[in-house]
């Protein structure tokens, strides 16, 4: 079931590329050769660590004011007279290990 869902998700994800592409920015390079001079290695490591971090675009969903639990969301919905948007998923959307 889960596999089938993922395949469908993938199909939709590809069809949705036009939306995503509008917001695309260049991703950090995965391959950047290490300098041959070992005196430059420390600076290279420092630079690589910096450039491999998630970009602001990759963290854009941080701009949403997420509530932490369903119960808290229901409580706030009632007191603020707003609907709840609930997204349930496998893995950890915040760290991307899914």
């Amino acid at each position: 079931m889960k596999r089938a869902c993922c395949v469908v998700v993938l199909m939709f994800a590809f069809s949705a590329r036009a939306d995503s592409a509008n917001e695309a920015c260049e991703s950090p390079k995965v391959i950047v050769p290490r300098p041959s001079d070992s005196a430059q290695w420390a600076a290279w490591v420092e630079q690589r660590v910096k450039e491999l971090q998630p970009t602001p675009l990759e963290r854009k969903f941080d701009q949403i004011g997420w509530v932490h639990t369903i119960l808290e969301a229901q409580k706030l919905a009632k007191s603020h007279h707003r609907p709840v948007f609930l997204f349930t998923h496998d893995g950890r959307m915040n760290t991307g290990r899914c």
Partner: protein
């Protein structure tokens, strides 16, 4: 979802100003070992039961809309809303239908990937893993990098240090258990949301060489490599083989052995000998 509609300005605006947004991880609600309260699990079950009763869709990877009284009134399978315009339509039709309040975000937006609480003296490391073509062009589970927050106890962190008094030029092996705590996460993004249990390290090596000892601070260079395998798909034998060479630097206070800086990156990393990826680790400072 995260890199698609949930990164779209219009969706963000609607969620912040017209909804109470929440996301949940199914692993936290599992029957076997739930990480949330019984009440919280009951709330999710109730929402799903209401959708069954309403004859709207129900699933594990799903979007549900609740009215201000907390009852389910709409739902969509994720596949139906990964396209931004489709999710926007779902959100807008419910806003229009409910005629609810609009206003400022109820919760102040904040970074969602944050360091966990850790005991004093522990070493908190942040790992970022990036497969080739990470971004919208990477599709589905490679649209953004993977992250891990690793907490090493004070004793585990000392495994990076030499047993003897540090002397410039001295070389030693980092404690294998300590190295494994870190290296088992040196893989690119995959569909399997479960981390280390499915990972098998075939070979690892992490050596340190002391570069300087000055003003009570010692500095060392790390070099090594790791070969590991793990399943791409959750719960299914689908092993991928990773190999990476590593380079890094760290410093520690000699008086107490406390690490004060730590950076480690892949020099060259490949998955199944063909596809490149990169991993970066740095210490989280508080």
């Amino acid at each position: 979802m995260r890199a698609g509609p949930l990164s779209n300005d219009k969706v963000i605006d609607l969620l912040n100003h017209s909804f109470v947004p929440v996301y949940t991880s199914n692993e936290d609600y599992e029957d076997k070992s739930p990480k949330v309260s019984a009440e919280e699990r009951k709330a999710l079950r109730q929402i799903q039961d209401e959708c069954f009763a309403n004859r709207t869709s129900v699933g594990t990877v799903h979007v549900y809309i609740l009215n201000p009284q907390g009852h389910a009134i709409d739902s969509s399978h994720v596949a139906a809303v990964t396209e931004t315009k489709r999710l926007l339509a779902v959100l807008q039709r419910n806003v229009d239908k409910l005629d609810t309040n609009h206003g400022q975000p109820i919760i102040k937006p904040e970074r969602q990937s944050v360091a966990p609480d850790a005991p004093t003296g522990s070493l908190v490391l942040h790992l970022v893993a990036r497969g080739q073509d990470t971004g919208p062009q990477g599709g589905s589970w490679r649209e953004f990098p993977g992250e891990n927050w690793l907490v090493l106890s004070s004793d585990q962190a000392k495994g990076f240090l030499p047993r003897d008094r540090p002397e410039v030029g001295a070389q030693y092996d980092v404690n294998a258990t300590t190295a494994m705590k870190l290296l088992q996460y040196f893989y690119p993004q995959s569909e399997d949301p479960v981390d280390s249990p499915w990972t098998k390290i075939d070979a690892q090596s992490l050596k340190a060489m002391i570069l300087s000892v000055r003003d009570g601070i010692a500095r060392a260079r790390l070099q090594g490599e790791v070969s590991l395998q793990r399943n791409f798909y959750p719960g299914k034998v689908s092993p991928e083989h990773m190999h990476a060479t590593l380079l890094g630097f760290f410093e520690w206070r000699m008086i107490n052995g406390r690490i004060t800086s730590f950076e480690l990156v892949t020099d060259d990393a490949t998955r199944d000998q063909k596809e490149h990826y990169a991993v970066a680790v740095r210490m989280e400072t508080r």
